[in-house]
Symmetry: C2
Subunit: 417 residues, 2 copies
């Protein structure tokens, strides 16, 4: 896979952006995401201190472009081939919006309801920890997303399942055990879409009828590896594809490391199921630890090279050994309790879109029904039902049985006091 820097497609310019400050801010943010390599701490600090408009100004006139930001900006600005003005940058952004639309994707920014706020915890990773681990630790500026489910809700009860590309049969078994158990209990399995553990985790979650999210290290239109294109299509159907890179960006080694911080930050905890010494999954686990999210590891035989990375991580303080699914849920919290702590049950349902809400009204407490049947009752299409129901499962509203039929989840008891 060779890199192809972002080239803005020819399209009309949005001229009225300055008249609408939130719109302008969104465009500035998307422009920065197109013009600067993700995760840059200097840029993030600039945005947090002076706002996104000022940060874009600073990048465009070169005032703010120092240190690591210079490297992060250099190649992109040249490749983008736009006039170094705010208007030019906004043209890049509005073309990006159109390209996303054409690709069946959308761009989600912090201004959107579906923005997963937990990724902003990445700003809390100290500069020293970040530099030791990897330079690009700052929160994402925006996400390119493919898939019908709302991003925030899908990630709200999510767990990362990561590991090596070269996976043993033991590792595959273990990945399936954990992914299936978590998916069946309403957790969204998040991984990186790679060969080995990642693919097994995604496929198992899909097979369990649950949502799964692949966080990519490249453009949304060309998920890597190409051999997984049908898997990625399935994920976009039943879950979400997610990336910080604009269309055209290719998957590089450094980008995988930058991407890993999002896998750790978007989820309630990370499980490393099998990893050799040099596995990138160890990097994801380190981010989980830096974010004070549970960093969980499945042990294996000490005679297996594929477990060496797991055992090395388990020797570090704060790593949690997990050998059963319930131990994971003990760390990341049972769904009922978390929902009660995070927000009232009313708000949980309010956050659903109208299709999902109509489907939820159609689901019965005791009698399990198929997606087509529920679609008919709710008055939505079969496709809409097949997309929305796994999301309702993922968020604990609905449970699915082995025949793929849905009924209402038992209500969690209100916490005492």
């Amino acid at each position: 896979v060779k890199s192809e820097p972002y080239t803005a497609p020819v399209a009309p310019l949005v001229d009225d952006s300055w008249d609408d400050p939130p719109l302008a801010e969104g465009l500035s943010r998307i422009a920065l995401a197109c013009l600067v390599e993700p995760g840059n701490r200097e840029l993030g600090q600039l945005v947090r201190a002076r706002g996104v408009q000022d940060a874009l100004d600073g990048v465009l006139d070169g005032r703010a472009v120092t240190g690591s930001l210079a490297d992060a900006v250099a190649s992109r600005l040249v490749a983008a081939d736009v006039p170094l003005t705010v208007l030019g940058a906004h043209a890049v952004a509005s073309r990006a919006l159109e390209t996303a639309d054409r690709l069946g994707a959308r761009i989600v920014t912090p201004a959107d309801d579906e923005w997963p706020r937990q990724v902003e915890d990445l700003a809390l990773i100290s500069r020293e920890d970040g530099e030791r681990e990897h330079r690009n630790v700052d929160p994402p500026l925006c996400f390119w997303v493919r898939g019908a489910a709302p991003l925030r809700e899908t990630l709200e009860k999510s767990v990362a399942v990561v590991g090596s590309r070269a996976v043993s049969s033991y590792g595959q078994h273990v990945t399936r055990e954990f992914s299936f158990g978590l998916a069946r209990q309403g957790w969204t399995v998040v991984s990186g879409g790679a060969f080995g553990v990642d693919a097994t985790a995604h496929r198992t979650a899909l097979g369990a009828g649950a949502a799964t999210v692949a966080v990519l290290a490249c453009g949304i239109e060309r998920p890597y590896p190409a051999a997984h294109s049908s898997l990625f299509e399935q994920i976009a159907e039943q879950g979400l594809l997610l990336t910080e890179w604009p269309p055209g960006a290719a998957a590089y080694r450094m980008r995988f490391l930058t991407r890993n911080r999002v896998i750790a930050a978007a989820t309630r905890g990370t499980i490393m199921v099998e990893a050799g010494t040099r596995s990138g999954a160890r990097n994801t686990l380190t981010y989980a630890r830096l974010l004070h999210r549970p960093a969980m590891v499945v042990p294996g035989p000490i005679t297996s090279a594929m477990s060496v990375g797991c055992h090395a991580e388990l020797r570090k303080p704060g790593t949690i050994l997990v050998s059963r699914c319930d131990q994971v849920i003990e760390e990341i919290g049972p769904i009922g309790e978390l929902a009660a702590l995070d927000r009232g049950p009313e708000r949980a349902e309010d956050a659903l879109d109208s299709t999902a809400r109509r489907l939820l009204d159609a689901v019965l407490p005791r009698k399990a029904q198929g997606a087509e049947q529920l679609a008919a009752v709710a008055g939505v299409s079969g496709l809409e039902a097949r997309r929305a129901l796994p999301m309702l499962v993922a968020h604990g509203f609905v449970v699915v049985n082995e025949a793929g039929k849905y009924r209402l989840a038992p209500r969690p008891k209100a916490p005492a006091s």
Copy 2:
């Protein structure tokens, strides 16, 4: 195996015991070991507060016999069938000494040079911790020992290797890996002589030409299990058999738990190599933790019932995962450094008996020689050489190669400063 309470053999009484206070104290201590079940905290506190003579008085006239001590004393006093006087108790003790002699064993008390002082750390385990784990946590009063090697030196650089009786082929492999590596680097492998992990640990250490110690939960003359009698003979030849129970005592479940505290206390750290949920090895590991000695566990596949106990222990704070022998040595300390910290190198060699010192003088720094050859040079018997050389290896004076030939160990560098 049925219990047979200690019955003192008919033999002349040592009448002059009162004339020699240290001798009397030794006899009182041995008498208490014969009359009270080991590990009793009440008795230990009595001994530490008022001395062993007073404690024996208190036990004999019933003044001190309250609480758990009453249970610990009751059966034994009746079975011993002696007059409840100090003179009667000393008769029990002197007969025990004669019996030990007849059995080719010796009784070691804190008054002896070869007493392993580290076992007295058991007095530091709090009453609450002790009661939660097991009632009998106090230090041993004395040891019955079989084998030529000096007890203190043999245990000075020792490590416990424990695990389940029902061992998988994986567990056997792992036990061999660790026991061989440790034995070859001069560490004494200590275990409980049981089926499974214990036996594999002892046999591997013997095969590596090193000393190994089996800590028994019964009388020295009838090590349990009987099926291991030839193994126990080999251990007595090349290492040591060790117990707190007088001859005649049978192995009970509760005695194994009491015994386990000695395995943990006598060694610099405990490694649990494979253990199911209910393995007694977990009890040994808990004692190591309570004693602030490294509590090390080897992980295994989560699909194996034989690793469930290991993973449960690894989930407890303070347990150290080990997957390689060098990680164990990192915890318990390389021999050279420990020797330098504990005592000057002169004292180390001074502690050797004359046979060992003559053999050490015969060992060459570069040319490896066989035991018979060294025996001839040193002017000792072949049997003496075969006994003493593994002890010299165990203490890091000498190294043995795969052909079973010995040469001087490289001198550890003196610590800087």
